[in-house]
Each structure stands twice: as structure tokens, then as C-alpha cells.
Point group: C2
Chain length 428, copies 2
């Protein structure tokens, strides 16, 4: 890990660049899977599950017995932690509930906007070495709070054809209606098109590898909504002299252990802080079970020395980090200068881990610079807002002439006529 000292502004772009994600090479195989599932339904799902997950399944739906058995297989401490996290996530997302906004625009003309839940939601949870039950909570709970009717979940089966009990337990805590043992691009296809056993959904959520991400992007061009395209996870830490280097080192390491392509940045105006943090990282790295992954990610980490807090916040907003930790004296004040980020962690006692699991904020966040224009998953992601308007005969009288003038200026005579026939009508 090298410390980069006072880079010039014209170097920022290359300094802050993210790894290229070339999807062209997998495009054909993903398109083929989508096509196959669209045409052949469950038969195609079973074929891919056998080929890619190495297990032959007679029934892809998780049974009631499997659901019931899950709780018995977990520690009480873990179950309690999951319930506590669920309560916090539910509370924070419930606070986002929007009211109908209603305006009498002019006398006799009322307009309002009403949030209406999306009917059917599909959630993807990746497989792999660890069961990502926290992601189940992050996607299913806001869907339940929003009032979505159907919440289904797909996840690849393990070699024995099972699903980790923590995923099943989290799903039951979150109101998931049905769980299917299918992963990868084929799971996305199943939720997008529907099969004999899987309901076609209106919107697909969830992280995944390149295949899953591309599959989501491709089905989104056919009319199914998606949450966010997922990229490698990122943290940017801003720290000053008062921040304990051991805290910062642990935060950087917890990002680095996610994957070898994780993005880890530390910005400071204090050379001492950067040096001390680097030393702490080297010490703490030894203790980690996922040491190899973290070490690889840290090779590409960037510890950057800048002149002052203004320059630092400039770079923060330029990079638009998924996670931003502000470990500075005046962190709350500083947080008001954040214009581009997914989620912000303020002060010395707010590690990113809280947002990943328990604080109640969502951990499905924009990566790869998407934070300049995208929110993380929140309650809005599970509703659409429908507008309504109602004019009385007088209301139309107040606005009709202007409407006709504009319609005619755009060459749309029938639009004008639709107003005129009503204004000519003397009854009503």
C-alpha cells in the first residue's frame, strides 16, 4: 500500500477510476439462458441447475417442512440478532412512507400524487461460500412495509439441494411468500418471464455476479424493472488526526474482505494518520480468515494525502462512494457537504458494519459511481407514484383557453377539441 501525496486535480480521474466491467464476452451465454428459460420454463431451470449448481432437483420450491426446520438449525443468538436487525430495518423504512401530496392548483382543479405498491417483487440472493441472509432482510422487509402483494425469492441450492437455514429464517421473518432453489441468469429469467412454477414478477432486486447483473440489465430492456446494476463494493474513509488508526484499519479491511475487486480508499490531510493506519492494516491483516482476498484487494487500495478538508470533500463527491465513513472531529457538520454517496457513516463509533447489518439503513447501494444519480434501495423502490387530477366545470373554465392555445401551437387540434367540446357544453 503506497500513500499517494497531493495528487494534481487532472490526475483525479485516473486515480479514482474503477475496474472496467466488460460484459460483452458473457453476453451470448446470458442471452441464450434467457431465451431458453423463456421458451422451456421449468425444464430449462432444472437443466441449468444440474449443470451449474451440480444438483438434480425434483422440486425447485422450498417446502413448508424445510421452512419449519430452519429455525431449529440456528443459534439463538443469531436468531435474536436477525430479529433485532429486522425490527430496525422495518422502522427506518416505515419512516420513509410518503403521504398522498395534494394541491388545488387553481380554483376547481385538484391534482394529487399517490404511492401505490408494486404488486410482485422478485428477490435474488447469491450463493457462494457464505449465506447472505442480511440481503434477504434488506430487500424483503421494505417490500413488506410498502405493501407489495407477492414477494418471492430465488437462490441457488447447495450441493445437497438445500438452502442455508439462515436464509430461510430471514425470509420467514420478512414476509417472503415463496422461495425457489434456482440461481444465476436462469433465476433472473424465471422471475422476468415466469415459468410453470415461478410467478412472473414486476421488479427484480438483488446482488449477484456478472451473469446475474447482465441478465438483470437485459430483462430490464424488455420491460421488467430492476433495482440497481451491482458492481464491486466500495468504501471511502475520510479521517483526521483524532481518528484511532485501528478503527480505520478495521473499516478498510472489512471492505477488502468482500472480494479481490473491492474498492478501498482513505483520504486524509494528516500524513501521520495515513502512516499509522497503513501499519495497523499490516498487523491486523494477519488475523483474518479471508486474508488472501483482503490482501489482493488492498494492492489496489488508495491512501491519499490531500491539502485540506475542502479538497477532500471535493474528491469524495467526485468519486461518489457506495459507503462513506467520516471519522473526523466535525463529522456531522462535514456530512452536510456530501452530494454524492450511497450511505454515510458519521463519527468514530459508526463502522460500516452497522449499515451492512443492523442500523436499519439499506445495504443495497449504488456502486461504480452510480451514486451521482441513483439512490440505494429504499421504500420508493417498491412503489410507483400515480398522479390524479380532477377539474370541475368551473376549473376547466379557468384553464381551458390556455390549454387550447398550447395544444394548437403544438399542432394537436384534437387535444384542443377535447377541451372545446366540454367548454361549449352548457349543462353539467
Amino acid at each position: 500500500m503506497k500513500i499517494i501525496q497531493y495528487p494534481e486535480k487532472q490526475e483525479w480521474d485516473s486515480l479514482l477510476s474503477r475496474p472496467d466491467q466488460d460484459q460483452e464476452e458473457i453476453r451470448n451465454s446470458v442471452s441464450q439462458i434467457l431465451e431458453d428459460v423463456k421458451k422451456n420454463g421449468d425444464v430449462a431451470l432444472q437443466k441449468y441447475t444440474k449443470a451449474l449448481d451440480g444438483v438434480q432437483l425434483d422440486n425447485i420450491k422450498v417446502s413448508d417442512e424445510e421452512m419449519d426446520a430452519a429455525a431449529g438449525k440456528l443459534d439463538d443468538a443469531l436468531k435474536e440478532a436477525i430479529r433485532m436487525a429486522a425490527a430496525n430495518i422495518e422502522k427506518f423504512h416505515a419512516a420513509q412512507k410518503g403521504e398522498e401530496t395534494s394541491v388545488e392548483v387553481i380554483p376547481g382543479l385538484n391534482c394529487w400524487q399517490k404511492p401505490v405498491p408494486i404488486d410482485s417483487i422478485g428477490i435474488y440472493v447469491p450463493g457462494g461460500s457464505a449465506p447472505l441472509f442480511s440481503s434477504v432482510l434488506m430487500m424483503a422487509l421494505p417490500a413488506r412495509v410498502a405493501g407489495c402483494n407477492n414477494i418471492i425469492l430465488t437462490t441457488p441450492p447447495d450441493k445437497e439441494g438445500g438452502v442455508h437455514p439462515a436464509i430461510l429464517y430471514a425470509a420467514r421473518q420478512s414476509g417472503v411468500n415463496k422461495i425457489y432453489k434456482v440461481g444465476g441468469a436462469q433465476a433472473v429469467a424465471a422471475m422476468a418471464y415466469g415459468t410453470e412454477s415461478i410467478l412472473r414478477v414486476n421488479k427484480i432486486f438483488g446482488p449477484g455476479n456478472r451473469f446475474v447483473t447482465l441478465a438483470k440489465q437485459l430483462v430490464s430492456m424488455e420491460g421488467v424493472a430492476i433495482d440497481l446494476p451491482a458492481g464491486p463494493s466500495e468504501v471511502l474513509v475520510v479521517a483526521d488526526d483524532q481518528a484511532p488508526p485501528r478503527f480505520i484499519a478495521a473499516d478498510l479491511l472489512s471492505q477488502a474482505e468482500h472480494g479481490t475487486d473491492s474498492q478501498v480508499l482513505l483520504l486524509s490531510a494528516s500524513e501521520r494518520l495515513l502512516e499509522d493506519t497503513r501499519r495497523e492494516i499490516e498487523n491486523m491483516l494477519k488475523e483474518l480468515p479471508r486474508k488472501d482476498i483482503a490482501e489482493k484487494a488492498l494492492e489496489y487500495s488508495r491512501l491519499i494525502l490531500l491539502s485540506n478538508m475542502d479538497e477532500i470533500m471535493d474528491m469524495v463527491n467526485c468519486y461518489a462512494p457506495e459507503h462513506l465513513i467520516l471519522a473526523t472531529e466535525n463529522a456531522t457538520e462535514l456530512s452536510r457537504q456530501v452530494r454524492n454517496s450511497g450511505s454515510v457513516f458519521i463519527g468514530n463509533y459508526t463502522p460500516e458494519s452497522l449499515g451492512d447489518y443492523t442500523s436499519g439503513t439499506n445495504h443495497v447501494l449504488p456502486t461504480n459511481g452510480y451514486a451521482v444519480s441513483h439512490s440505494g434501495v429504499n421504500l420508493d423502490a417498491f412503489v410507483k407514484k400515480i398522479t390524479f387530477q380532477r377539474a370541475s366545470q368551473d376549473g376547466l373554465g379557468n384553464i381551458g383557453e390556455s390549454t387550447m392555445t398550447m395544444a394548437r401551437a403544438e399542432g394537436l387540434e384534437a387535444h384542443s377539441m377535447a377541451v372545446q367540446v366540454r367548454m361549449e357544453n352548457k349543462s353539467g
Copy 2:
């Protein structure tokens, strides 16, 4: 126009189907334009403008003189109408302003979500026979209300290299910073990648033809946000016996005049209303300047007789119309049953034209069934919502153990360590 009587539920899907939009055939040419503009900037823009719009431009930026001259070229009535519409649009979108939502999740742990404006917005306004100045208002005004810093606009030049004064006037009323004379996929490319003269933006808005729509979808896969994929415009009218057939006929015609692929549906439980409306359409059609377009669209219109209001509302929600007109006795009550639609027009005196121009609601709405999962353009479309969290040392104490339990269960040891090093720290 044939009246379809009491269709069986299994026929609904084919009855409500929309025209296929095959984009594969134009994919190569759009990709090539994107690539060219990315590489060659303004030179490429000028090349395409000459080839496709038939005009050679030395300067693609609209000058201050052109802006100043615009108002003088317009009727006072039109200028007044534009200002009135602008005031209503501004009022309705300002009412959507969300507050920071803040929650003390547990003692010592605060989480909040804050809307922050997207910095740079690009708006596309199509050219063609009529100047769509109303679309300028619909996209630029909410951007200004949201507080976006840069609002730029692209639109193809006419044969003389000019832009219609109504577009320029509407742009000035709405706080657009800069206007460029460039259209088609090349305009989308310019806003997505930036050129020597055009600022790269964070999000692109605006309707357009197939080339523009595909260009927007393609750049969205490279990280630029977009509003909605645009399809042919749609209206679905629900009417009962009390609705004047002449009003309904005018509404259907105003949709039909948009384009030959416009989608026009009328649902009723009254055969008389359907018959009378059909007759009115035939009479009124003769008077229309855009008769040929409307006639063609009406060939594919669907007048459907159903058994009762429940079945009608079922079909409404199944179709998810961009525009929905409820011309029934109990229209306000009925509107509460709407689950899928872009914008709803209630009662006999609320023609769609109001929403297209003056009522204040947005006219950029989800087509092609996207209303099941997407909102129309609203204030949310111009902000992202960033989450923040701050734990005190006690707050972390209340939640730390659970966080560590969950992190370890997901195999993420460093995530646990980031909590542990803080909990072990006795100072603070």
C-alpha cells in the same frame, strides 16, 4: 372500429397486447453513432447533423441573441399560456418535496435519509412537425424545483439551423442553462459522454423516436441514468351511461392524433355508450387536420364491452395505461381502485389535454405496461436519497454484539472486528 363484446379472461392478454418494438435492426447503427461521438466529439456531432438534419452548423450552441429574439416571435396568448402552465407545474412538483426522514432507531443510534439534487441533467426534445415546448416545461421545471445545478437541452435544428422560438421561450421560463442544436442518438451520446462543447450529464430525460430510445437504453448500461424508455402513447377511457359520447370521442381522437401507433382503448358496461361514441368519432374525425394519422391509429383501437365495473377495473389494472380517463358517475371513488397507471383523469371535465399541458401533473409517463413498476417523471426523478447514520459509543454498545454475530455468520470476520476494536476501546 369494431366493438368487442364480453371477451373471455383468457383472451385479455392478446386483446391488450401492444405493438412489438424490435430494436435489434437499428442496434448496429445506434451503437456506431454512440462510439463515434464518444471518440470524435463535436466533429461527429456536426457530421451527423449535416447528414441527418440536412444543415451545416458552425456553432451548435443556441446564442444569447437567439434566446433574446424568441419572445418577440410568439403570440402574447401563447406566452401567457406557457407561463400559466409553468406556474402550475412548478406548484405541483414543489408539493412533492420530501423532507429529511430521521429516526432514532435505538438509543444512541440515529439514521436519516436526505434528498440531494442530481447535479447535471440533460433534456432531449424531439424535432419533427410540431415544436414540443410543453415537454421542455415538464422536464426542466421539476429539475429546477429539485435544485439541479446544470440543466442542458438538446434538440435537432430545423432546415435553416434554427430552433422553434416556443422551445426557446419555454426553456428560458424553466431555467435551462444551455441549449444545443443536435438531435437523435448523437444528442444522447453527447450528453452521456460529453464533447468539447457539451457537458457530460448525470441523467438524461426526454421522449424520442426508436433511435433516441435505444441510445438512452444503451448509455444507461454504461452508467448514465435515464428517465423512462418511451413507447407509443396510450389512453384508456372508462365510461358509463352518464358520460357525453362527444367528450369521450374527443379524448380518443386526441390520443389517436399523436401517431399511427398510438394505443386507444374504451371500456364500458354500456353498449349504447360504445355505439354512440363510435358514431361521434366518425363525425368528428372529418374536421381534424391530422385525420390520416388518427384514422390509422383508430384501426387498432379497441372498444370493449364488459359486464360490470369490477371487471372493467380489473382490465384497467391488467393493461396499466399511461393515461386513464374515468368518465363515470362515481369517478373519484373508482379512482381508489387504480393500481397500475401513469396518470388518472377524473370526471367529465378533466380531459387528458389538461395533464398534457396545464394542470401541473407531469406528462412524461410510463407507456407499454411500465406503469406496473414505474412512476412518471416527478420530483424524485431529479434527486437521489442518501442515507446517514451516527452511533454514539453507547449506541454502538447497544447494537454491537448483534452486528458481530451476524457478520461472523456470514463469514465476514473483519466486519465483526470493525465493531470489536471500537467496543474494546475504553476512552471516547
